[in-house]
């Protein structure tokens, strides 16, 4: 049995490890990006000089050979579904019995004038990072467009190099689609405290390009012009589907899969960022481009690669991020504004905050947002799965704290 995985990101590698644990099939991982799996989440730390590229590799280089995982560095351009082989740009053909497409995402571009000029880019791959390194060497001011997690990372990266950063965010307040107003303002202060100029309610119109073909300024829809010879475009990512398209595998926004990760083509699976569920799970998006989701799906799709596909059930939602020095964790369902039948409680001491959302009828807790406070995942999972009430949560709140010893607790009480 030959199993081939396209993509050595978290989804592909997690799937490979789970297949290897269960069977001694031949496993080949193809990547056009790097020789070895690295932590995409750590790209910013390489740029800031906190880590070197080799420090971001979660497994030692010997790990792969020792576990019989064959790595191929090459760009997959087409899947010959009839002959069951993956065709690489080099012309090489890698044949498979079962194939997983874990091709991840590509940064979005929306047809702005100048968006392909030199010094304009997104940040997703190691190559993006190398390009960013090369094009920011002599930059003194830069613009980052898009208030998502990549955007704030790019702003931090540039700021640590002493570059003046203008952070252009379309929303009227930061992440208004996800956060409550008080939470937004915590993040906004964290961003501004680091000298970044945060422009809320601002939209990109076009990028001005100089004679040399390099970006030199950014124009907003309100007519303002912001100097800056580097423009970070962090306006979301979309599934990388070119391989599927070139191979006649059905795709929409992403590569279309059923709840067993099966694509329209037999023996071809897709998971992670690139996959779109034909029938989305209740309360979840059809494409969920989160690192944790990628890992979870990688583990689940392994069953399919082993020959006994299992229906995926998304685990309890959680996510985490860091906005400059402000850590963020979320568990369960936490809408920006509570809807009918829901209530919320919010506590803050000006630097940290907790927001708990619960059902009005029976006080059962639905989810939590924490800024600047570390929460214990297993305690919160336990509460959310077992329908803990607000009283129960508040009574035992000490149990869910995960901050370092000696941390002063923020008062959280009904």
């Amino acid at each position: 049995m030959r199993i081939v995985i396209v993509g050595n990101g978290i989804t592909g590698v997690t799937a490979a490890r789970h297949v290897r644990k269960a069977a001694d099939h031949s496993i080949t991982i193809i990547s056009g990006e790097t020789d070895f799996h690295f932590a995409r989440t750590a790209l910013m730390y390489i740029y800031m000089g906190d880590l070197r590229y080799e420090d971001t590799k979660p497994y030692a280089d010997e790990f792969w050979a020792r576990n019989g995982l064959e790595l191929v560095l090459g760009h997959a351009v087409r899947v010959d579904t009839a002959a069951r082989c993956v065709v690489l740009a080099s012309g090489e053909r890698v044949s498979y019995d079962r194939l997983l497409l874990a091709t991840g995402s590509v940064p979005n571009r929306f047809g702005w004038e100048g968006e392909y000029a030199e010094g304009v880019q997104g940040l997703y791959s190691l190559q993006d990072l190398e390009r960013m390194e090369a094009s920011t060497t002599d930059v003194t001011s830069a613009v980052v467009v898009g208030g998502g997690l990549i955007g704030v990372e790019m702003a931090e990266m540039l700021a640590t190099r002493g570059i003046d950063v203008t952070f252009v965010v379309r929303e009227q307040r930061y992440m208004e689609y996800l956060l409550a107003p008080d939470e937004s303002s915590l993040v906004e202060s964290a961003i501004r405290a680091h000298g970044v100029t945060l422009e809320l309610g601002a939209e990109l119109k076009r990028i001005e390009v100089d004679e040399a073909g390099r970006a030199c300024a950014t124009h907003l829809t309100d007519g303002r012009r912001i100097e800056g010879s580097f423009v970070g475009l962090a306006v979301g990512v979309r599934p990388r589907i070119d391989l599927a398209k070139a191979s006649g595998i059905e795709s929409g926004l992403g590569i279309l899969v059923d709840d067993h990760f099966r694509t329209s083509t037999e023996n071809v699976f897709a998971a992670g960022d690139c996959a779109e569920f034909r029938k989305p799970f209740p309360g979840r998006k059809p494409v969920e481009q989160l690192w944790y989701t990628g890992r979870s799906q990688g583990r689940q799709v392994a069953a399919g690669l082993l020959g006994s596909p299992q229906a995926y059930e998304p685990p309890l939602f959680f996510n985490s991020a860091k906005f400059f020095d402000l850590e963020y964790q979320t568990y369960g369902i936490v809408p920006a504004a509570v809807s009918e039948g829901q209530q919320e409680q919010f506590w803050t001491d000006g630097e940290r905050s907790i927001r708990i959302v619960y059902r009005s009828a029976d006080q059962v807790v639905l989810g939590v947002n924490a800024f600047g406070i570390r929460l214990r995942q297993n305690v919160w999972s336990h509460w959310l799965r077992n329908g803990a009430t607000l009283d129960r949560v508040l009574a035992g709140f000490d149990q869910c704290l995960f901050d370092p010893e000696f941390t002063l607790r923020m008062e959280v009480a009904a």
């Binding site: 932590a39 214990r376 995960f402």
Partner: protein, 516 residues
């Protein structure tokens, strides 16, 4: 609104190249100083002058600000450090006879200390604080660049002189006389001089650590502890005891790190025990009780951190002066294998040696004859001097600050065995939160591959962990927490590998475990 320190800028612009040339010049100057210190006198006095001029020039170059850029704290700090070093070289050279050496050296030391604090404040003192490891791998001094090698040579050279050619340090030793007379009524010797500079380094770099980690109360308390432990238990108290004609006893060291406290005879505890008055006997009993009762009990409750990163003098220096070099510890499996053989080998050796010495003593010299003093001396030379000093500290800028603690310290070996097999301490991994970024592994000064455990959802229970808490501090996702809790559930399996994180999270942790 405060900007991040622009001197942290990594982009290679004019500012960076100036700073680099200044560093190279300063390095060369220091190297010349070492040549002089070794008493080689290749060019008589002129090279020393050259060295001093070089250092002063570097100080000036760094202080020289680009137009429109105000003299920043970090530039001021750097020029104070380099200027202070220049004064030190002048003092050592015996130039400027008109000014007494001790004044020059006080000015020199004072300027270096003040410069360090000013620099730390400029870099870490603004805003609300947070982890600032930016540029660690692009700064030559911190990433085994040329200057780091020079610094290692200078440090190693200092230890060589200290242990084997103390007469060459006579000039510095004499300058400490005023402190020595005040504290203990006798002139300084090389060990008093060493202790003074050691404690000063812990204090000044401790202040730097307090600035650097001031957002993290665990790190703050721990840093306060190491400053006080070194300053009081390992410096003031022993010398005050000496002033009162009592044995110069270090309450924060005991067998087997300080094996002679439990060795028989005059080279060991014998002379302390037989000292007039009762204090000597108390000291010997105190040492024995700490070694055999204090160590297991405290390590059961708190892990080895109660000693290694809160009290021990070696740890005090590593956690302060060695803090900039944490990321240099090798985290490969190979180094872990070497570490286990070496550290337990030293433990076996010192235990065996102690037993032999006591048997020999009981047989009144029937086993070793007069060689027991010889064994004590050889052990002291190989492990006390070469390993702990020359390699342990001299190699800070190349191999990190915990070489001795990790590969050689028999005390750490004992504490580690207890921590691994019978302790309430562990580093808890927070479910499935790890994003495998690698900050924890990189900044572990003991070279533990923390990420290996964290990304499997497994708790970290390792003999070598000194509990400095840096993995938890640098983690961007709140995945790690040092804690003392019940033995049950401490050694959890790799939950993300053997099962779905969801299953494991179903376990009724909240009900079954008290997280106090």
């Amino acid at each position: 609104m405060e900007r991040l320190d622009p001197t942290l800028a990594l982009a290679s612009g004019p500012s960076k190249s100036t700073s680099r040339s200044a560093q190279v010049m300063a390095g060369l100057a220091l190297l010349l100083g070492v040549v002089y210190l070794f008493g080689l006198h290749p060019f008589n006095q002129p090279p020393v002058l050259v060295a001093a001029v070089g250092l002063l020039l570097s100080a000036a170059v760094i202080a020289d600000r680009p137009s429109g850029d105000p003299l920043s704290g970090s530039r001021l700090g750097k020029s104070l450090i380099f200027g202070g070093l220049a004064f030190g070289v002048l003092a050592l050279a015996g130039l400027w006879r008109v000014i007494p050496d001790w004044i020059l050296l006080t000015v020199s030391t004072g300027a270096v200390c003040a410069g360090t604090v000013v620099l730390a404040r400029a870099r870490y003192g603004h805003g609300s604080g947070g982890i600032r490891n930016h540029g660690v791998f692009t700064t030559p001094m911190l990433s085994r660049g040329g200057v780091a090698w020079i610094a290692a040579i200078v440090l190693t050279g200092f230890y060589v002189l200290l242990y084997w050619f103390p007469q060459s340090l006579e000039g510095i030793i004499r300058t400490i006389d005023p402190i020595s007379y005040t504290l203990r009524g006798v002139p300084s010797d090389q060990w008093f001089m060493y202790g003074t500079f050691y404690s000063l380094a812990v204090l000044v770099m401790g202040v730097r650590a307090l600035y650097r980690y001031r957002h993290d109360r665990y790190q703050r308390w721990r840093t306060v502890s190491v400053i006080l432990a070194q300053g009081f238990l390992a410096y003031l108290l022993p010398h005050i005891l000496a002033a009162f004609n009592e044995p110069e006893f270090y309450f924060s060291y005991f067998w087997p790190l300080k094996p002679e406290y439990l060795w028989p005879g005059d080279f060991g505890s014998g002379w302390i025990w037989n000292h007039p008055g009762r204090l000597g006997r108390f000291m010997v009993i105190w040492g024995a009780v700490i070694s055999f009762v204090g160590v297991p009990v405290l390590t059961y409750y708190f892990g080895k951190r109660w000693y290694c990163s809160w009290v021990c003098g070696c740890g005090c220096l590593a956690e302060t002066a060695g803090d900039p070099y944490r990321h240099l510890a090798d985290s490969s499996v190979r180094s872990w294998q070497i570490e286990r053989w070496m550290i337990h080998g030293v433990l076996v050796l010192v235990t065996f040696g102690t037993a032999i010495l006591w048997i020999n003593s009981a047989m009144e010299g029937g086993l070793l004859g007069s060689f027991s003093g010889g064994f004590a001396r050889v052990y002291g030379f190989v492990f006390g001097s070469v390993f702990a000093g020359v390699i342990g500290v001299g190699f800070y800028p190349l191999m990190g600050a915990r070489v001795w603690c990790r590969f050689g310290c028999p005390q750490a070996a004992i504490l580690g065995l207890i921590q691994r097999f019978y302790s309430r301490f562990r580093i808890t991994t927070n479910g499935g939160q790890c994003i495998s970024c690698g900050n924890c592994t990189t900044y572990c000064e003991m070279g533990i591959d923390v990420r290996w455990y964290a990304q499997r959802g497994q708790n970290i229970v390792r003999a070598s962990c000194v509990g400095c808490g840096m993995c938890a501090s640098v983690c961007p996702r709140g995945v790690l927490k040092l804690e003392n809790s019940s033995l049950e559930g401490r050694l959890n399996g790799p939950v993300l590998i053997t099962s779905d994180e969801v299953d494991v999270l179903e376990e009724d942790w909240a009900a079954s475990v008290s997280w106090k």
